[in-house]
């Protein structure tokens, strides 16, 4: 009998005009998301390649590695970020590597193209989170109350049909009728992605499959919620209104409110405050060093070369010491800020997770490698690169780079200086996370989504046991 109810539900939904109109709209949006994502990825790759070439071009003609002061690194575009943008458009994609010190992030996508920040991008995550959750509600709001209004509920239960079977058939049938057809445009979208030249590794395909799986769980949660609300109301108009209010809160209000509440509850020092403190400390250190510099007197004044080398060594030591203090001070401030931010984001996400929309966003962005962890991962890799860059420059010049002004004196020996070979410069390539890296972060949220499906279905089941069939 369960199979029969599922078949009926499938037929009823698939032959309705409402389904055809909604499905075509959703399918077009999904295809658009894949096509725009692929085009965006290709444009990003071209932009980064051009920027890298320009970076190296600016170094061409230099004859001393010490003169390499503007080595820029770039966040390599990730194919999955074009489907689930996460924070990838909000963080600075470029850093200037000097060999030591902090590397401010620059060049956010929204900073470069602020018009997109107004309405964000139409990516797959947005379509699942906003459009498909509405799609689920549109089909679930009258699942029970609509049958009651139409009179088919009375006729159905004039037969030996257990209520639990009817409810299970409703959920399974609705899910199959609505979710499975959505896989068609998603699969076509994947083909479009490949045909447009976006290279996905096996690992990324698996992550994309899990993103889609999370999306379907999220869709199922809203479907079960819709059926539950429908089983708790007598009229479909009341059910629709109730679901619309729940949707607005779940998708639009709760995630934003959670951030605001956490912002009020946990104080995080602003970047301006931190930078001001760093600036004042740097000034203080420099003032202390200036006295030492004024007191500098070379041991041997007869040989200019030795004099310069001694001065250089003196300056290098002063710079190193000052930079060490500065680094310690900065890292302490940064750590304090990062800790406060961590507490703030834990509070924010803890509150926001009561909404399935937040859980889906967190699971999808974690799987895509575009969650809040992207920034930390990028900075960590950039720092590691800075160390290797510093070693490289030290190896080439014998001097630690980035420590301030360096005097180099060349006594004319008539020899023509050779330009540096920029190909020797260590390359920076952002290492994308793999499935094993992101799964621990994504699983809890995907688990919450699965729990939501079961919870809402249980609520629907209990509500329908007491439903007045008359």
């Amino acid at each position: 009998m369960l199979k029969l109810v599922i078949q009926k539900e499938l037929r009823d939904i698939l032959t309705s005009t409402k389904f055809i109109v909604s499905f075509v709209s959703c399918a077009l949006l999904i295809l658009l998301a894949f096509a725009m994502g692929a085009a965006g990825y290709r444009a990003d790759v071209a932009r980064v390649e051009a920027a890298r070439r320009e970076n190296l071009k600016q170094m061409e003609g230099l004859t001393d590695w010490m003169m390499v002061r503007n080595n820029r690194i770039f966040l390599t575009p990730q194919p999955l970020a074009s489907l689930v943008a996460g924070v990838s458009d909000d963080i600075g994609r470029t850093m200037e590597v000097r060999g030591r010190g902090e590397m401010p992030q620059e060049d956010t996508r929204y900073g470069e193209e602020p018009v997109f920040a107004m309405f964000r991008f139409l990516d797959l995550e947005f379509i699942f989170q906003t459009v498909l959750s509405l799609f689920a509600i549109v089909f679930a709001f009258d699942a029970v109350s609509g049958e009651k209004e139409r009179g088919t509920l009375r006729l159905s239960f004039a037969n030996p049909l257990p209520r639990a079977t009817f409810m299970a058939g409703k959920l399974a049938g609705s899910f199959l009728a609505l979710a499975v057809p959505l896989l068609v445009p998603i699969l076509i979208g994947c083909a479009v992605f490949t045909l447009m030249g976006v290279p996905l590794t096996t690992d990324e395909w698996m992550r994309l499959a899990l993103i889609i799986g999370s999306g379907l769980l999220y869709f199922g949660a809203f479907l079960a919620l819709g059926i539950a609300v429908s089983a708790m109301t007598r009229s479909s108009s009341t059910s629709f209104l109730a679901l619309l209010v729940i949707w607005i809160f779940a998708v639009l209000i709760i995630p934003r409110s959670a951030i605001l509440i956490a912002g009020r509850a946990v104080d995080v020092p602003s970047l301006d405050d931190i930078n001001a403190k760093k600036f004042r400390y740097a000034e203080q250190l420099f003032a202390e060093d200036r006295a030492a510099m004024n007191a500098f007197s070379p041991a041997d004044r007869s040989d200019p070369r030795k004099m310069i080398e001694e001065f250089q060594k003196f300056m290098g030591n002063i710079n190193d010491a000052r930079q060490k203090k500065m680094d310690e001070f900065s890292s302490r401030l940064n750590e304090e800020r990062a800790n406060a931010q961590g507490v703030q984001s834990s509070v924010a996400l803890g509150i926001a997770r009561i909404s399935p929309a937040t859980c889906f966003t967190l699971a999808a962005s974690a799987l895509a490698g575009t969650s809040l962890a992207l920034q930390d991962r990028y900075i960590a890799q950039a720092r590691a690169y800075q160390v290797s860059f510093a070693k490289f420059i030290l190896g080439k010049t014998g001097i630690n780079p980035g420590g301030g002004m360096v005097f180099r004196m060349r006594i004319g020996d008539g020899e023509q200086e050779k330009p540096i070979d920029t190909h020797e410069l260590p390359a920076f390539e952002y290492r994308r996370p793999v499935l094993a890296d992101v799964l621990p972060a994504a699983l809890p949220d995907a688990g919450v989504l699965a729990a939501c499906v079961f919870l809402f279905f249980a609520v629907a089941h209990v509500a329908f046991r007491r439903y007045d069939l008359r």
Binding site: M1, K8, R154, L155, A158, N159, L161
Partner: protein, 246 residues
């Protein structure tokens, strides 16, 4: 010897949570091959009685039985033995008549019917063959009523509950319906029909019960009522009326 009742109410009472006594100690029996018409105005308790037989509500006292099965104790077994046609048959509008009929036949627990069997059932109700593969969306009330009766025929249940089945039907459809009802009775079905259509009740019923404010105020067989003006009898038994002659 009398056959055992197929549809039976024994001291059936229903008091709603708001205190309204919808049914008060109702007792009657419908045997196989018998049509029982429950006559009464709005609020007399006819639909409440049907709801109790379908276990949509539970009785405050007494029992509703189908083929000896107490409906609120074993609702699924009872429902397997009863077919139901409502006043306004509402089916799935996106399905054709055949698809609706097939679904509800299988929902009744019967094996998947052949298309020929479905066609025969629909033709028996008088639904033209060209309508069999059309969606219900454009069907008139009479056409939907025929589909509802076809569902009852396909279920082939020994008991049939009809809730105001002729309400809103045109005279020809009403006539066809009564003819069909008689043929079902001749097949041995026990039919309980709630109606306020005195003419149809007299035409089709073997026994007529008049209900008023939840109580069965009169019950007579067709033979006992022969030669009497049923409308006059009805008005005599309705509370607050002294009959047409008064």
């Amino acid at each position: 010897m009398d056959k055992a009742p197929m549809i039976e109410a024994i001291g059936l009472s229903k008091k709603y949570e708001d205190g309204v006594l919808a049914l008060d100690n109702l007792s009657f029996a419908v045997r196989p091959g018998e049509v029982y018409a429950m006559l009464g105005g709005n609020g007399a308790g006819k639909t409440t009685t049907i709801n109790l037989f379908l276990n949509f509500i539970e009785p405050t006292a007494g029992e509703a039985r189908i083929d000896g099965i107490v409906t609120h104790r074993d609702p699924l077994a009872a429902k397997a033995r009863v077919a139901y046609v409502s006043e306004n048959v509402m089916l799935y509008p996106n399905f054709t008549a055949m698809q609706n009929l097939e679904y509800f036949t299988r929902l009744s627990g019967r094996p998947a019917p052949t298309p020929e069997a479905l066609h025969r059932a629909l033709l028996r109700t008088g639904l033209a063959e060209e309508a069999h593969h059309k969606r219900l969306r454009g069907f008139s009330k009479g056409m939907r009523q025929k589909c509802g009766i076809a569902i009852a025929i396909m279920k082939n249940a020994p008991a049939i509950l009809l809730d105001e089945p002729t309400s809103g039907l045109d005279p020809q459809a009403g006539f066809e319906f009564i003819a069909l009802l008689k043929s079902l009775r001749d097949e041995g079905k026990a039919v309980l029909m709630s109606t306020h259509d005195i003419f149809r009740a007299k035409e089709a019923a073997d026994t007529i019960g008049i209900m008023d404010r939840g109580r069965l105020v009169m019950q007579r067989t067709a033979g006992e009522l022969a030669g009497e003006d049923l409308e006059r009898v009805y008005m005599q038994h309705i509370a607050g009326h002294d009959g047409l002659a008064a």
